[in-house]
Symmetry: C2
């Protein structure tokens, strides 16, 4: 008996994807999976890949399509939070039987899916990562995970142990903690990463996290990479790891050290909640 | 009977003040008030005007000094949130009899003072504003307010009507909403402003505000100026006023139009809570 090829639907909840990226990622996938790029990925509307309604419709349509096994978010770049009120009420049974993969700005959607218990939710590389140096490996890691062919190799090592996990971009999680869309992180080990924020901003963001009830319910925090940190006019005086350790200590949250995630080609996969056996 | 001169204590909860600024502001004050710069203003410790403990001590000492009528925060620039756990438990009766004035990053402290019902709290110009073009007028406005000599002229016009008001930097309030330090804004008209944020960041920040229970309890929002907005690689497609109106409408919060506050010399004063008669 031959199993049919994994069908992966791709939508862009934030910024648009270039057609050339779709072509390159399709070439990398080869025969290992069928990639279905929703035409919405290539729309343009100001900052976004189409108007809010078009992005929400594409996401809901693909999520509800029983012929698709997974939803792979195309890229981040801001815009997913605008779909929180527009898409989730429409998700049905087929949406529950899927895997969802993305990171960065798409964390707004991962949080909402996990909060509603819809599907298997994972934080990891996206198609647009092909543009990074060594990005092909990131894309292969994602496809290996989504097809189940290589589902363990790409998983962030510290999250292979039994337990509940969640991973977020620091700015995205700090945004969510203030809102009615805040995730439920009780009992989770939380992995966080960011990109391009000044040290003083990282300090403020981790102040937010560690002073929120949302994050105070975790069993511990691991810090991923924080990408290139812009140089300030005066040296902040603490590294990002010292900042994380400081705020964790101050707020009684165990700081567990570093994690292998970030806005780079090395970005490993973190499966949300209790890990389920791979397909 | 001659009333004694108003004594204004100045501390720097975030970044350090230059001695030359103190001299210029003292010259502007002339005989209208006695300005007392705490030596902590001129300390330097990495990003900050001295270590967290030194900044907290200076603030608490001056707040508790009965010979001072007001605390004027020297400047913003990040750091006030680090004092939230270090200073407020120590504030006594003398702290309650004072006026507190600042904006931007010092909003973390204004929020906490207002939340605890300590003193008369106001959002308005700081000593470092003397560096702005036309900044002398901003400093005169602040001193006129603090001495009671000119307390109405400098007040933001829309807040002169009876009611409860609060004003915040958007980034600061968006930080607070996620935390245990969130202010109580129920029944307030909220005035917000920011500086130097990309349109997409303003959109995300106002998403946070309008999706928070904290801000959903206000009676309406007025948008101050958002300073120079950096140019993005693609035009966002909405102005800051359109962004504010969009999120307010979506979340059932009355959008009341513009406010005369911002990171500039025109920045008017907003007194928190129920306005009290001037001295």
């Amino acid at each position: 008996m031959t199993q049919r090829k994994t069908r992966i639907g791709i939508v862009a909840p934030g910024r648009a994807l270039d057609q050339s990226i779709a072509a390159r990622v399709t070439a990398v996938a080869g025969n290992s999976a069928e990639l279905v790029f929703h035409p919405q990925c290539f729309l343009s509307h100001g900052h976004f890949a189409g108007p809010d309604g078009a992005r929400a419709d594409a996401f809901a349509k693909f999520a509800n399509d029983p012929s698709l096994d997974a939803i792979w978010f195309a890229r981040g770049g801001y815009g997913a939070c605008r779909l929180l009120d527009l898409a989730f009420e429409r998700l049905g049974e087929a949406a529950r039987a899927k895997t969802y993969l993305g990171y960065s700005d798409t964390g707004f959607l991962l949080a909402q899916l996990a909060k509603r218990g819809i599907g298997r939710v994972a934080h990891g590389p996206m198609p647009a990562d092909i543009l990074r140096e060594g990005g092909e490996a990131a894309v292969r890691r994602a496809i290996g995970f989504l097809t189940g062919a290589d589902s363990e190799a790409g998983v962030e090592p510290s999250t292979r142990a039994p337990g509940k996990y969640a991973a977020f971009n620091i700015s995205v999680l700090a945004s969510l903690t203030g809102t009615v869309h805040a995730p439920d992180l009780a009992g989770h080990t939380l992995l966080i990463e960011d990109v391009g924020e000044y040290h003083y901003r990282l300090d403020r963001l981790i102040f937010i996290l560690t002073n929120s009830e949302t994050v105070r319910s975790v069993v511990g925090i691991r810090l991923g990479r924080c990408g290139p940190i812009p140089v300030n006019d005066v040296d902040f005086g603490m590294t990002e790891a010292e900042i994380a350790a400081y705020w964790c200590q101050k707020n009684g949250i165990p700081y567990l050290g570093r994690a292998d995630i970030g806005h780079d080609a090395e970005n490993k996969i973190v499966v949300f909640g209790d890990r389920r056996p791979s397909a």
